[in-house]
Amino acid sequence: MTASRLPLPDQAVIQAFDLTRTYNGTLAVDHISFQVQRGEVFGFLGPNGAGKTTTVKMLTGRLRPDEGTATVGGFDVVRERERIKPLIGVVFEIQNLYERMSGRENLRFFARLHGVDVGRVETLLEHVGLAERAGDKVKTYSNGMRQRLLIARALLNEPRVLFLDEPTRGLDPTAARDIRHTIQRLGQAGTTVFLTTHYMEEADQLCRRVAFLSEGRILALDTPQALKLRYGKRRASVLLDDGSEHVLALDDPADAERLARWMSEGRVLTVHSQEATLEEVFIRLTGRALA
């Protein structure tokens, strides 16, 4: 059965309801519910140990939930695990490649497992910029190259849903930027992307909606813009005629009064509004930073 023949019953490609999982007595995922729409890049944000990877494992059929249900492409992740496999591609948190094999051999092996024409391997190697080094052993690859190879591997079966678990972790800025461009292209091409990350800027840049996860629970779920407006502080950066620069909280009556006074005195040269960051929203919601 190929992915293209499988039914996608409604707009929600991923549906999780009351999903729960305990590890050694600790609640790793605590009754979470959410939906991911078709073609959406969905961010799952949280610090290490928040339950992101456990959630991905449950959604990809590698871990049974203790409670709750989830479907991917309309198929139950427990009872219809085998039917989900043709629909998904996964980039894992660790760079789990066969190091003694070349990049091309890695992809050809997985192409055989998926029953995909090995000709697609060359297309994907070209697509992720690894064609020239495809014959080299993976152990000679840089982190960035390995990550691109992992993405190529996840795309072999042309998945409807791509799970990316911390895809830019540990990469240098250039390599991370390349990976983000690739994710952006995939999103634009209509692939549903479930992205877990603890890089807030990355989520802000790539995701249509994000969910904040902390200690196994979803604290907030919305578009980055809505979250920032709802939970962030509105501020303005003001440059005065004496060269001094001030950051004012627009919701603070005292700051608002100061700004009005400077304006009336004609001292204001420029005013720039400052948007809250997702990082600030997260801190406000959880009382602690992400890293």
Binding site: T60, G61, R62, R64, E82, K85, P86, I88, V90, F92, I94, N96, L97, Y98, E99, R100, M101, F109, F110, R112, L113, H114, G115, R153, N157
Partner: protein, 361 residues
Amino acid sequence: MKWRTVWAIAWKDLVDALRNARLLLLVIMPIGFSVLYGYLFRDTPTSAEIVIYSPQPSALVTRLGEMEGVSLFVVDSPQAVAAKLAEENAALGVVLPTGFDEALRSGERPQVELLYGENADAVRATQRLLLLTVDDLSGRPPAVRLRTPSPPPDQGEKAGRGMDFLAGLDLQGYFVVLWVVMGLVMTGAMLVPTLVVEEKEKGTLDALLVTPAGYSEVVTGKVIVGMVYALIGSLIILALNGGFTGDVAVSLAAIVLGSLALTLIGLLLGGLVDNLSTLNTWSSFIMLPLLLPILLAAIPLGRLGFVAEAVKLIPTYHLVRGLSLALTGRGGEAWGNLAALAGVTALLFGAVLWSLRRQEA
């Protein structure tokens, strides 16, 4: 079971093992030692005394008579063989059946009766020489079935060896069994679980399990790889050390069943352990009892004869006994051991299936 997937996984591992120095060493080491020991401890008899009766002229009698260092006494009746054996203090008495040469030529396995002399070492070496010569004449072993009305001179606990089946097996033959068993145990207890544990430790197992491959396809692929390397290693050891003699079919059956049982033990071990350093410790613990039957077989046990009885509970005991008997042309006595090996394999298969269901649940 998706066999295309199984084959893809097996082929990946077969090729990958050749690039892994550690795994390659596990396959090559027993072969290398077998060659070295075969050279250092070869015991081709410098002199062999054989009493033989043949009702008709036989190429075997001619060939033995032409061999340097062989003193051949040809007698004119089967009854005269025993008397001449005692009189000349010869190593081996041989009674050929009527139509022996024609039977060999037509591909049958004629039955040859053997009578043993007093000197155990000379008996073993001369019997091996006889079997190799018959195999050479027929061009395709196993050429004969052996009938031995009396036991070999050092058989049984009287000699304090504990392992009766070693009778008739010369030093070279013992080393063939030793290195074949060593190779199978190393493949089963180390190579196979390494294939599984490396996938777990590097996280590639997760990558496999999100493809259409299931745990059962992954495990079956590993069984094939273990079996292929175990069989290749064993066949090379047999070929390099004159091991294709005696009851070759029984030898091969023992090797196939033994390699399957040991591969399944390796799979169970691989399922329990999550990293290679823990695996190394456990493999060492498991290898020792598995090698005990072949190691103890070479040691006079004296009052510790009960140890020989206890060792019969270890699956490799049946491999060692079956192989030893087959190499000395007494494969007919090894059916019980083959049956025991088949039983152990079936039990292990059940355990692996149970473990698989747990993993896939």
